[in-house]
C-alpha cells in the first residue's frame, strides 16, 4: 500500500473519530490542534487504525508517535 492510500484511510478515521468532517491530515497535526483529540478519542483512533490496517503497534512505537506524520510512517513501516 502506498503512502497516499494510507494517508487517505487514516484521514477518514480521523474525520470520523474526532468528528471533524473537513479535517486535513497533515504531518505536523497533533493533539494540540484538534479539539476532540483527548485521551479517550486517542485510544479509539489507535484501535481504529490497527483494525483498518490489520496491524498491532508495539508500545515503543505508540509512545514514539508525536503527530499524524509519525503515525503515518509507523503504519507504512509495519505494512512493508
Amino acid at each position: 500500500m502506498i503512502l497516499l492510500e494510507i494517508k487517505d484511510k487514516i484521514q477518514i478515521i480521523f474525520r470520523e473519530v474526532f468528528r471533524e468532517p473537513s479535517l486535513e491530515l497533515k504531518d505536523e497535526l497533533s493533539a494540540n490542534d484538534v479539539a476532540k483529540w483527548d485521551s479517550l478519542h486517542h485510544m479509539t483512533m489507535i484501535a481504529a487504525v490497527e483494525k483498518e490496517f490489520k496491524i498491532k503497534f508495539k508500545l515503543k512505537e505508540l509512545v514514539a508517535m508525536k503527530n499524524a506524520g509519525d503515525l503515518l510512517r509507523a503504519v507504512e513501516t509495519k505494512l512493508i
Binding site: 497533533s30 493533539a31 494540540n32 483529540w37 483527548d38 485521551s39 479517550l40 486517542h42 485510544m43 479509539t44 489507535i46 484501535a47 490497527e50 483494525k51 503497534f57 508500545l59 505508540l62 509512545v63 508517535m65 508525536k66
Partner: protein, 218 residues
C-alpha cells in the same frame, strides 16, 4: 527535622514502593481507585498492570519510574512523588492513552468508554511547559517532618537544569483530600482551576466529584 532525609531518583527496585505510592495517591483518602472502577479491575489485577507499566519506564507521564523521586530515611523509603515537564516527551494524556490501549487492549477500552466519558467531566488539561507533580505520598508516620518540601525543592532544582525558564509547578487533586490541600497550600500552591460534576455516578468511579488544579510560580 529534615536532616535525616535524603532524596534520590527512583529505580526499578523501587517498583513495589511506587505501587504503594500510586495506589495511596489514587485513593485520595477514600477506598476508590479510578482505574479499578473504570476498567473493572480487581486490586491484584491493577497491581499487576501498574507493575507492567512501570517496568516500561515511559517518561513524561505519571506512571514512569524514572520520573519519580524517593525520600529515604535511614535507607527506608518514606515518601515519593512523580514529576515531569509537560510536553517534554509528548502530551502526557496521549502517552497514557497509548499505554492503557497497549496493556488493556481494545475490548477492555471499548467496554469502559461510557464510564470514561462520565469521569471525563473532571478532566483538567495539563499545561505545556509546566512542571506537573503527581502521585505524592508520604508514609503517615513520617508526615509533618518537611519531607514534601525537600521533595518539591529537589524537583524544582532538577527541572530548572533541563528548562531554565520554568515558570510553573502544578498539582491536580481531589478537593475532598483536605490533608493534601493543606500540605500544598503550606508549600505555596494556590487553586487556579476547579472541575465539579453533579452526576451521582461519579462517586462510583472516582474518589470525589470535585477536582482542583493548584499552581505555584517558581
Amino acid at each position: 527535622m529534615k536532616t535525616n532525609i535524603s532524596i534520590r531518583k527512583a529505580t526499578e527496585k523501587d517498583i513495589p514502593f511506587l505501587i504503594e505510592t500510586i495506589i495511596a495517591a489514587e485513593k485520595s483518602g477514600t477506598e476508590t481507585i479510578a482505574y479499578c472502577s473504570i476498567f473493572s479491575l480487581g486490586k491484584e489485577e491493577f497491581t499487576e498492570l501498574l507493575k507492567n507499566i512501570l517496568e516500561e519506564d515511559i517518561q513524561g507521564q505519571e506512571l514512569c519510574v524514572s520520573d519519580f523521586l524517593i525520600a529515604e530515611e535511614k535507607g527506608i523509603s518514606v515518601g515519593a512523588c512523580c514529576g515531569w515537564i509537560e510536553g517534554e516527551n509528548g502530551t502526557s494524556s496521549s502517552l497514557k492513552a497509548n499505554i492503557l490501549h497497549y496493556f488493556l487492549g481494545e475490548e477492555k477500552i471499548a467496554e469502559a468508554q461510557g464510564i470514561m466519558k462520565i469521569a471525563d467531566a473532571l478532566h483538567i488539561e495539563r499545561e505545556a511547559d509546566a512542571l506537573q507533580l503527581e502521585s505524592i505520598y508520604i508514609r503517615t508516620e513520617y508526615r509533618g517532618k518537611g519531607i514534601l518540601q525537600v521533595l518539591y525543592d529537589t524537583f524544582i532544582t532538577e527541572a530548572k537544569k533541563r528548562k531554565h525558564d520554568l515558570k510553573k509547578a502544578q498539582i491536580q487533586l481531589m478537593k475532598t483530600n483536605e490533608t493534601a490541600l493543606k500540605a500544598y497550600d503550606k508549600l505555596g500552591f494556590e487553586i487556579i482551576c476547579e472541575k465539579h460534576s453533579d452526576n451521582p455516578e461519579i462517586l462510583r468511579i472516582l474518589p470525589s466529584h470535585h477536582k482542583v488544579m493548584m499552581q505555584k510560580l517558581v
